[in-house]
């Protein structure tokens, strides 16, 4: 089936099998491998990206369901000149990552969270990121980074 999506501002028209997962499409067809596959069971959040501005787990969305959508992946977060998105900068400055595997998903979930709750409390950040697992147990600095990005 033919789908048309806008990914990081660029239009793509592709022929996909209906069973193609969105994460598979983004990684294997568009070759945007910043979006990671972790648990592959919609638990860990490593595959989080934005559909029309909202974080979703792309291992549990079919590419055909995203037909017509505006998608942003981690590759689309920094400005064209390489200036990091404030959330990426905050993760860097607050040591919000260790191995980095969960980081793209964390950044996508965190930016979606700040859109819904622009000035979250620490508790709201922790609850808001409950769909993202970090196996280095680096949650403390991740929460710090999100609060820093929110201007706290």
């Amino acid at each position: 089936m033919q789908i048309q999506v806008t990914v990081n501002g660029k239009k793509h028209t592709s022929e996909v099998e209906p069973r193609t997962l969105l994460v598979q499409y983004v990684r294997e067809v568009l070759e945007l491998t910043g979006t990671n596959i972790g648990c592959d069971t919609s638990s860990c959040g490593a595959c989080s990206l934005h559909i029309d501005g909202e974080a979703v787990k792309s291992c549990t969305v079919l590419a055909v369901q995203a037909d017509g959508a505006n998608i942003t992946t981690i590759e689309g977060m920094a400005a064209a000149d390489g200036t990091l998105h404030p959330m990426q900068q905050a993760f860097m400055e607050n040591h919000g990552l260790q191995c980095g595997y969960c980081t793209p998903g964390m950044v996508m979930a965190a930016t979606s969270l700040l859109k819904e709750i622009p000035n979250p409390t620490e508790e709201e950040v922790r609850i808001g990121l409950e769909g993202n697992l970090c196996r280095c147990t680096g949650y403390h600095n991740i929460v710090k980074a999100v609060l820093a990005a929110a201007g706290k």
Partner: protein, 274 residues
């Protein structure tokens, strides 16, 4: 994990969806947000030959004040139920419970209709709407019918829906200021409830729904009956598992689930009464 191959068709209205599912027979399934169905398909526990995508039927996404009840379109996402000002005012228990489904990413995709039609006893919204005395509106090739939530759930992932019927609307009575509580007991963030309780209590009665306490969501009628008869909260809560038939799993034995149900129902009623 990739699902087994299937054909994909898209419906733009409930009538079209029902006609498509009728054409494709018993192997076809409706796809809403996909957050119950796709995980099962990826594990190849189910392998429908055709998916009828109903997720784009935008006129089934609404929350309307309908006088004595709130009417919620089946394709309304959990996030929209959670953030609804109408529900916060008239059915706060449901808005709150929707905010406990999965995690934000899941709530951006999953729908109330999909969750109820999936009829998972471990899901939050089937038991919550059951406790609230909801009515489900179902559309089939010969028109619509209304089913009380209390007659809808037949068994594990089994409901009153026929193969060519689609859940289109959930009607939830207004709570009229009744007290309420939602208790979800789990060990890790974002997990399913080991046991959950959705309860309300007001001048016109009470309702207690149990999550993960049987093959279907359970209405703890014995508790409400005892309260109506003047029993104390502690005495009523002791009857919490009377209507339930819990199963054991990795998280909990039958005895532990039964104990949890009593404790959580007591806590819920205390909070709803305070």
């Amino acid at each position: 994990m990739i699902p087994a191959a299937f054909d994909y068709v898209r419906a733009t209205s409930a009538a079209e969806a029902i006609s498509l599912i009728g054409q494709h027979g018993s192997d076809a399934k409706f796809l809403a947000g996909g957050h119950s169905l796709l995980p099962l398909m990826k594990l190849r526990l189910v392998a429908p030959s055709v998916l009828v995508d109903v997720g784009r039927i935008t006129d089934l996404s609404y929350i309307k004040d309908a006088g004595d009840h709130i009417a919620i379109g089946a394709m309304t996402r959990h996030m929209d139920v959670e953030k609804s000002a109408v529900l916060a005012q008239h059915v706060p228990l449901l808005a709150h419970a929707a905010g406990h489904v999965g995690d934000p990413q899941v709530r951006h995709r999953g729908t109330i209709g999909g969750s109820i039609a999936h009829a998972d006893p471990a899901s939050d919204l089937p038991a919550t709407t059951l406790a609230l005395g909801a009515t489900y509106v179902v559309q089939g090739p010969n028109g619509t019918r209304e089913i009380a939530a209390s007659s809808f759930f037949h068994g594990f992932l089994q409901s009153d829906l026929a193969e060519d019927e689609m859940l289109t609307e959930i009607r939830v009575p207004k709570m009229n200021g009744a007290g309420w509580s939602f208790q979800k007991f789990n060990r890790r963030a974002q997990d399913w409830a080991i046991v959950g309780v959705a309860a309300w209590r007001g001048s016109h009665g009470s309702g207690v729904g149990l999550v993960n306490m049987g093959q279907t969501p359970i209405l703890a009628s014995a508790v409400s009956k005892a309260l109506a008869g003047g029993a104390s909260i502690a005495d009523a809560a002791a009857l919490a598992a009377d209507d339930a038939e819990p199963s054991p799993d990795n998280n909990a034995s039958v005895e532990y689930r039964t104990h949890l149900a009593k404790v959580l129902v007591r806590r819920a009623l205390e909070q709803a009464t305070a």
